[in-house]
Amino acid sequence: MVAAATTRKPAAPGRAAASARASVDRSTRETRTKYLLYVTGGTLAALVFVVPLAFALVRSVQPGEVIVSAPEASTFFDWTSENFRMLAAQSELGRSVINSIIVSVCTAVLTAVVATLAGYGFAKFRFRLLPWLFGLVLLTMMVPFQAILTPLYLEMNALRLTDSLLGLVLFYTTVNLPFCVFVMRNAFEAVPDELEAAALVDGAGIVRLLTSVLRPLITPGFATAALYAFLASWTEFLGALTFLTDQDLYTLPVSMVNLQQGAYGDINFGLIAAGAVVAMIPCVILYVALQRFYVAGLASGSIKG
């Protein structure tokens, strides 16, 4: 990288011309070795990361018997959509996919909206209580939900929020809020005060302001927050396992564990493979679509947080 940067840059001023040629020579040679290393290293590493996931796709189209038997060339490529058809037909699993979609989409929207409002408040408003409230929200990053699971369960139970998809959405929103508030506060701090003040003086309300004038500026942050919350809740496991006991409300991972551990000796690995692929696809699509926002947002939120 260093070498590449030097060669691309116009000749550095004030440096001896004689040594410049030698240095360029060295840089280009180094670039070539480095580039070769980059290509081979990058390709090998990419294979290590992609092949297992791609192999899961293959598994999902193999019948259960093929998955659990030693691979043979004759049956290995007998691909079928049987697993996915079974998954859709089996009421519990099909239902759980819908539950997961409801919960994760609602969580993504609610988290992003609440974080946007709070991010705006924390970034642009000034009064004495505000830093304390911000500290309070940030402090929750130090209290992982895994550690307050039992009292949280009792409280949710008392509020009738266990065995409820709404309860799960509220829980996931809380878990993802601190990070997303942070991301949104960073987004609003980058908005010029003049732009915002001008719109407010013109009589635009807060909602108008956020949805029209500021929208293009905060969209990357909003997308980061929404995707972060979606990915965190789509296959979240411990909370769903704890707060849901009604089979009709199970989310996909809980229902898959039920499938795996409930029926002894009769695990259908084809269904598990199909379930894993169904769980994997939306993450990959959304991530690839939103990654140019997401990667920058993730880094800024974590480092400054």
Partner: protein, 309 residues
Amino acid sequence: MSAVTSRATAPAGVPRRRRSDSLTHPRRTGLLLVLPAVAFVVVFVFAPLLAAVYISLTNFPLIGSFEFVGLENFALALSDPVFGRSILYTLVYTAIVTGPILVLGYTLAVIVRANRRGSTLLRTVFFLPFVVGLTTISFIMLLEAQPDSGAVNIVLRWLGITDGSTAWLVDGPLATALICVLVIWGVSGLTMILLMSAMQGVPREVYESAELDGATWWQTERRVTIPMIRRAIAMSVIISVIGSFLGFTQFFILTQGGPGSETTTVVMSIYRRAFVDLQLGAATAMSLLLVLLTALVTALQFWMLRERD
């Protein structure tokens, strides 16, 4: 920061008033904006945390009456051999995975940090397992860890390392090794993203002068890159240490904590105590110890970050 500003302007009186009750940013609007977020964390984090202190001092059952038992639950938690073993196991697991996650994440960051042809694609690819999530990759591993049929065994047999009949998930150390590999593979992408962003923030001039000094690649990394991105390194280590210490999903799906309680993590032992044994008082006491421990680790690392800045 704003607290400092308002205190500084306080003696003047008037400027502070204008600042807090400005026409465009009235105080009440600001409060209304942040209120929903504050309400969420107060209701679902701080209220249960306070309740936890009370519950941990009682012999709280899921149903029926309960009474105050003092510190009995804490004594019970600390002397419980299963809980003690789960702490030890989780510490060992955390110790095993932290180094490799950092090294692999750093290596991947080095590969993708420059904007070369294909580097965006590689970033996507390396981050993919993290995006897919531990739950899903654990289910994928469940299929591939089966003796004779799973890919793990097939590959090892091709390489001539084993005969391919290893039953990974019913043996404590073997299952732990497999889960460690899975997690290192799955979460290094996050470390990569954090370190890569920091590396891209290092000014070019620093590298140019290092090169003029004739520094080798490794000298440049050690003397320039690593010191300049140490905050990001510390942050990514915090995230991975806490994540590992709270590990649950991958163990629950792959081993259910077995055989026996050999691969039971702290969170899993609390979960069992609460929702299988239905001893919520004891489980809550254990939870509080865990809150204390994680808060301590986070605070310590935040403090270390601040100290050096």
